[in-house]
């Protein structure tokens, strides 16, 4: 046989292998084929092809494996069990960039499903190889490596620590400075996943100088990149006051406020989250945000969005108002209360309503002026109905009750308290009547109004145990009025008068 015929056999075999691997890769792109492929034992077939002589077959086999593992965690476990990972890790350092990308894709696909699989990846020494990939010239390789590291670090803080120990963070910070948008996105998302677990990890990220670059990227017009950058900054800032101050020192204000006007909903949500994480630590930071006009931007954002996107903004207003009464007054002056009231009324989700109730409670609890500003919007009735509604969740009921209590203990604005007299349960009634008993002895116009609006009548109808606080309050109120008036409004007075008519002996 001639040499050509011998070589032809080999060419046929190579063509067959190429065709098989390309077909498997195409089929694994569709999720419905994966069950069939798994039953056909595709992983054990692909494994030797990873070591094939022809680089294209290797790459395509790796790509196919990655797609299979991405959709299904059984297959990902099978990939780990068949000892494919060590081979991938070894070849990561040697092969060309297409193979590196495919291998990084496989590692990412395996690592995304559960912490145990990610731990298996770490144990076979993949982290060092991935970190070496991060230094590669090709941006696609860097992106694949960064993405894989991000998925590994996402699960828990030990895995994040392992990623950091492998020296990934400075390289990720270098990746952020690259011109390709996709690479920046992935690097920002990985930094966000690393720093979200604990303050030490966040500090490591900060020490690598990430904050300055992240802060510059807020101005980038790409919406997804902004999302990731804002998320990374908020994960850094959420751990402690010092980290939040570092983030603020990077001069993100007032640039962050432009994110609140972005057309993308998630950019608004992440921007509000970042401002919330900064504001919640200390009054000085909240003061700084208020001075920069952050409260106005957040309030406008709440007004323009619907649903869970509003939640971080609502919580931010609550945190700012909770620190001190001056800040709470600043929130009121910036017209913060009407959007919160509309939130309470319009939203369907209970946790958003609970957050709005909590925020209103924080605003109104400081002094009578604050309570008056909250009560004037007639939101106390809504809070009461939410507390009494049996369909509301326990969390919502609890927060509504606390907010009501806190506002009522300082509220001296009687026109808002009167409608509550009619439906309140006893534990809230005590506070309402207490407030009346504090205000009525000193204000004659209020007394008159109280009588004409039927409040005195309602108070007489309240049954309280003698000696309890409620009874004392009722007595104080009754002492503000002449006896005939109190008797006139006490229940059963008409019957009493009629009885007296019956028993009267006419004077002839």
């Amino acid at each position: 046989m001639s040499q050509r015929q011998v070589l032809q056999v080999f060419e046929q075999y190579q063509r067959a292998r190429t065709h098989f691997v390309q077909a498997v890769a195409e089929l694994s792109a569709r999720p419905q084929n994966i069950g069939t492929l798994r039953d056909a034992g595709v992983i054990s077939l692909l494994r030797p092809l990873l070591l094939d002589v022809v680089p294209t077959i290797q790459q395509t086999a790796a790509l196919a494996l990655g797609r299979l593992a991405y959709f299904n965690d059984d297959l990902a476990e099978a990939v780990v069990k068949e000892d494919i990972l060590p081979q991938l890790v070894c070849s990561l350092s040697e092969q060309n960039r297409f193979y590196k990308k495919a291998a990084a894709f496989v590692l990412r696909a395996v690592g995304k499903h559960s912490p145990q699989l990610a731990q298996a990846i770490v144990e076979c020494g993949a982290l060092e190889a991935l970190v070496i990939c991060l230094e590669d010239f090709d941006p696609g390789v860097k992106e694949g490596a960064a993405w894989a590291l991000g998925y590994i670090a996402r699960h828990n803080s030990e895995l994040s620590q392992a990623v950091v120990d492998a020296g990934a963070v400075p390289l990720l910070v270098l990746c952020i400075q690259e011109p390709e948008i996709a690479l920046k996105r992935i690097a920002a998302s990985t930094l966000s996943d690393i720093s979200k677990h604990s303050p030490e990890l966040a500090q490591t990220v900060v020490d690598a100088g990430a904050i300055a670059y992240l802060a510059q990227m807020i101005l980038n017009p790409d919406a997804k990149l902004k999302c990731q950058v804002l998320s990374a900054l908020s994960q850094i800032a959420k751990h402690s006051v010092d980290l939040a101050e570092l983030v603020v020192e990077a001069e993100i204000f007032p640039v962050v406020l432009t994110c609140m006007k972005d057309s993308d909903e998630y950019v608004k949500k992440n921007g509000a989250t970042l401002i919330r994480e900064i504001a919640k630590h200390s009054p000085e930071l909240s003061q700084f945000i208020v001075n920069a006009g952050g409260v106005a931007a957040v309030i406008d954002c709440i007004g323009s969005c619907k649903g869970t996107v509003r939640l971080p903004g609502i919580m931010m207003l609550g945190y700012v108002a909770a620190h001190s009464e001056n800040l709470s007054m600043a929130v009121i002056v910036s017209k913060g209360i009407p959007p919160l009231c509309t939130c309470l009324l319009e939203e369907h989700e209970d946790h958003i309503k609970a957050a709005a109730a909590w925020a209103l409670g924080q605003i109104g609890r400081h002094t009578p002026e604050h309570a008056r500003a909250v009560a004037e919007t007639n939101v106390l009735g809504t809070l009461l109905s939410m507390y009494m509604d049996i369909r509301s969740s326990e969390d919502l009921q609890l927060k509504a009750k606390r907010a009501l209590k806190n506002i009522l203990q300082k509220c001296t604005y009687l026109p808002a308290l009167e409608p509550l007299l009619h439906d309140a349960p006893p534990n809230i009634m005590k506070h309402i009547v207490g407030q009346f008993s504090k205000v009525l002895p000193h204000d004659s116009k209020a007394r008159r109004l109280f009588v004409t609006s039927g409040g005195l009548k309602k108070v007489q109808e309240i049954k309280a145990e003698p000696g309890s606080l409620l009874q004392e309050y009722i007595n104080t109120i009754n002492n503000c009025y002449p006896e005939e008036v109190v008797r006139y409004y006490s229940p059963g007075y008409s019957e009493m008068l009629l009885e007296r008519v019956e028993n009267y002996q006419p004077v002839l």
């Binding site: 190579q14 790459q59 941006p139 694949g144 432009t258 409260v295 106005a296 001056n326």
Partner: protein
């Protein structure tokens, strides 16, 4: 004798008379005795009662006097306490007035400036207005940009379509579909067709392998397109033509690690000098103060006695209590005027 007879006759009656007399006397005596006893007892009773009354009166008088004395004492005490309470109330009132003034002053000076707070809140609302306006402008600008981009995209698409459908252009003989003879003037599409250059049939340049979209690559959003920009390499890879050295060799040479000579690797100063410097550094580090340790007598011999802070007096007389009573800290003031 007659008397004797008379006596004898009387004798027989004598015993009776004697007995009767004795009896009557006896009875009288009983009555008289009882009367006398009664009189005496009543008289003694009178005396005793008079004595008791007297005692009573004396006792009353003593008690009266004593109670009066006690009440006057108590009354004096009550007056003293009432006076004391009145005084204390007055002092409290005055103290409240003083404290009221002082607290108002102190709060306004050092703690809380009401007018500053008012101005601050006004400034915040102003600032919020400005920020809202700026954000509004920013949002409008973004909207405009987006609209412009959309418009441009549409324009580009239209132009591309016109280039593709160039054959629909009308000629002298046949009016095209966009140039109906019944129309007054041709359709804008017709004008666009006239302006556009026809698309050539030449094959498009094969896309270079560096322009594939990284963004969509491995997550299968696009139909599978293998990233093989280069054609499959043949089985037997040939070396590149030309006087090139083997790639492995070149890389080995380029990344050869540094192997310095012993002279270069060793430091400039000899170990002896280094050890000397080390010793000096240690001494410098360990030396905490310059005073040598001396035993007590010789160390304290020539020392001058330094006054303690409490005993040392200021130059001149103490001014607190004479010139001023209040401590003022101007650097902690929050408002300017006093």
């Amino acid at each position: 004798m007659a008397a004797l007879v008379r006596l004898e006759t009387r004798l027989s009656r004598l015993r009776e008379e004697y007995f009767l007399k004795n009896r009557s006397v006896d009875e009288d005596r009983k009555i008289v005795y009882k009367a006398a006893v009664k009189i005496q007892s009543w008289f003694r009773g009178c005396r005793v009662r008079a004595y008791l009354r007297y005692l009573n009166k004396m006792a009353i008088s003593i008690q009266k006097w004593w109670r009066g004395y006690q009440s006057r004492r108590y009354f004096r005490k009550m007056i003293k306490t009432a006076y004391f309470i009145m005084k204390m109330n007055f002092y409290n009132e005055m103290a409240v007035r003083i404290q009221k003034r002082w607290r108002g002053y102190y709060v306004r000076k050092y703690t809380h400036n009401y007018y500053a707070l008012k101005k601050y809140l006004e400034a915040i609302s102003l600032n919020n207005e400005i920020v809202r306006n700026e954000l509004q402008e920013y949002a409008e600008m973004n909207e405009k940009k987006k609209k412009k981009k959309d418009l441009e995209k549409k324009e580009k698409e239209k132009k591309y379509k016109a280039r593709k459908m160039h054959y629909l252009l009308s000629t002298e003989q046949i009016a095209g579909i966009y140039n109906s003879p019944f129309r007054k003037f041709p359709d804008p599409m017709e004008l666009l067709l006239r302006q556009s250059k026809p698309l050539s049939h030449r094959q498009q340049q094969p896309k270079s392998p560096f322009t594939y979209d990284l963004y969509d690559w491995p997550t299968c959003k696009r139909p599978p397109a293998f990233p093989t920009g280069e054609p499959l390499p043949p089985i037997g890879r040939q070396k590149p033509q030309g006087p090139f050295r083997d790639a492995a060799e070149v890389l080995r040479q380029r990344y050869k690690p540094l192997e310095p000579t012993l002279r270069v690797a060793a430091s400039i100063s000899s170990p002896l000098e280094k050890a000397r410097e080390e010793m000096k550094r240690e001494e410098w580090r360990k030396c905490i103060h310059d005073n040598e340790f001396l035993p007590f007598s010789s160390y304290h011999k020539n020392e001058k006695y330094e006054l303690s802070i409490h005993a040392s007096e200021k130059i001149g007389k103490e001014t607190y209590g004479i010139k001023h009573f209040r401590e003022v800290q101007p650097n902690k003031w929050i408002a300017g005027k006093v």
